[in-house]
């Protein structure tokens, strides 16, 4: 008994402070993977059933809508390619090192409940798909979070709204840089480090600035919902709503920036100080 408690305490300290137990966790995760598959069965079978028994008319409507969307996106893509090429040319003229272009891997969320007091999800790609720790995770709309632990066949993603997560962002309108921190509530981020006279308004779009090295620059993160200036306080109270569907995301994109400046090891910057 005393031995078990002592070993547990020791493990907790080591797990919190050091990296040695990562391999133990990964090895054990292979054992519990079948259990997680079983736990995910109700959700996945429900999805399979609803896909199989959808009416023909609904499928046709969906097909039609998707085709229209595809056409629209293709139209935008044409413009984007021209712009990207132009951007590259201009950057070459300026001798700037930044390159656009990211590698993207699609992963699915596993329908598993993790610790309810941490904002994290588990995805079905792991080190077998060369997912790495610190990799940025997006959904269709915006940044969702980053990978904090990689198992052989799964990975754990910390969402940007977790209180231990901080993300370097900039205001898309004027390039004002700051850090967006999680609040623990699924639909809220806070920007605690902006002074009262900062040029930021409700409705401003925040995008990743890429300064921490984990997240590729230029992806949308959140929209500012509330700016409160209180003259007695040194900093303004600014809240933002994540643009990603944090509670409804189903498929996510894992991004690997192709620019040479991407560090493979976790950067010691303010970003992503996982507990």
């Amino acid at each position: 008994m005393a031995v078990a408690v002592l070993v547990s305490l020791l493990m907790m300290v080591v797990d919190q402070r050091a990296e040695h137990l990562k391999h133990v966790r990964s090895a054990l995760s292979v054992i519990v993977a079948p259990l997680q598959q079983i736990a995910g069965l109700p959700a996945s079978s429900n999805e399979w059933l609803s896909e199989s028994f959808r009416s023909r008319q609904r499928l046709q409507e969906e097909n039609q809508a998707l085709r229209e969307l595809n056409l629209k996106l293709k139209g935008q893509q044409q413009k984007l390619e021209a712009l990207e090429a132009e951007n590259m040319r201009l950057r070459d003229l300026l001798d700037s090192s930044l390159k656009i272009g990211d590698q993207i891997l699609i992963a699915e969320l596993l329908a598993i409940d993790l610790d309810p007091y941490k904002q994290q999800v588990i995805i079905n790609r792991g080190s077998n798909s060369s997912v790495f720790e610190g990799q940025a995770v997006l959904d269709a709309d915006a940044v969702l979070g980053q990978v904090i632990h990689v198992n052989p066949f799964s990975a754990i993603v910390l969402m940007i709204t977790d209180p231990s997560h901080a993300l370097p962002v900039e205001v898309n309108r004027n390039g004002l840089r700051t850090i967006a921190m999680g609040t623990g509530r699924i639909n809220e981020l806070k920007l605690p480090h902006l002074p009262n006279n900062a040029d930021i308004q409700e409705g401003d779009l925040l995008v990743t600035s890429g300064l921490g090295g984990h997240f590729p620059p230029g992806y949308p993160v959140a929209k500012v919902t509330q700016v409160t200036n209180s003259p007695g306080q040194p900093f303004a109270r600014i809240l933002a709503k994540p643009s990603a569907n944090l509670e409804r995301a189903h498929e996510v994109l894992l991004v690997r920036a192709l620019s040479p400046s991407t560090p493979e090891t976790p950067a010691p910057a303010a970003e992503g100080n996982t507990p």
């Binding site: 137990l21 519990v32 736990a39 598993i112 409940d113």
Partner: protein, 162 residues
């Protein structure tokens, strides 16, 4: 039905597997705080019924698996379940004689102890303190205890697990 000791072990294993699956089964957000800690209930039952077989070691190992499954600090649930197993094994002769509702109260106290340990660990690693609904889970565990007890007891008698 005569069952060799290894078959009895299989029943225990199966009940723990089911408990672990129930622990991670996805639930709607509003109901999640009310999820009882199934692994603790099952562990308490087996520690009480077969203390010579299931004890601190098994409690600790199950806790470690819970830690990996829910991605908590490695050792957090292991410590809690080891302590749970220790208390239950120590008191098993007394708890066995209680009527079901009194057993429920003992289970409630043990679950409260677990949650308290969890909150201490969360505080130590600077996680925010959870909302008051955090304490609903032991209550649900207490209310579910009679059913867990009866189901596992019948299983144990059916397969003669000793």
């Amino acid at each position: 039905m005569t069952v060799t000791p290894s078959r009895g072990g299989l029943i225990v294993l199966a009940s723990f597997i089911l408990a672990l699956v129930l622990t991670t089964l996805p639930l709607p957000d509003w109901i999640r705080p009310f999820r009882p800690s199934w692994h603790s209930l099952v562990l308490i039952y087996w520690c009480m019924a077969t203390p010579q077989k299931v004890g601190v070691g098994i409690g600790w190992s199950v806790g470690l698996l819970v830690d990996v499954m829910t991605n908590t600090l490695l050792g957090q649930h292991a410590m809690e379940l080891a302590i749970t197993a220790f208390i239950t094994v120590k008191l098993h002769q007394r708890i066995r004689l209680f009527p079901l509702w009194q057993q429920g109260i003992v289970v409630f106290l043990i679950l409260i102890l677990e949650e308290t340990l969890s909150i201490i660990v969360m505080g130590a690693i600077h996680r925010p303190t959870p909302a008051l609904s955090y304490w609903a889970s032991p209550l649900v565990g207490m209310l579910l205890w009679p059913w867990v007890y009866i189901i596992l007891r019948d299983l144990r008698r059916q397969f003669k697990v000793n």
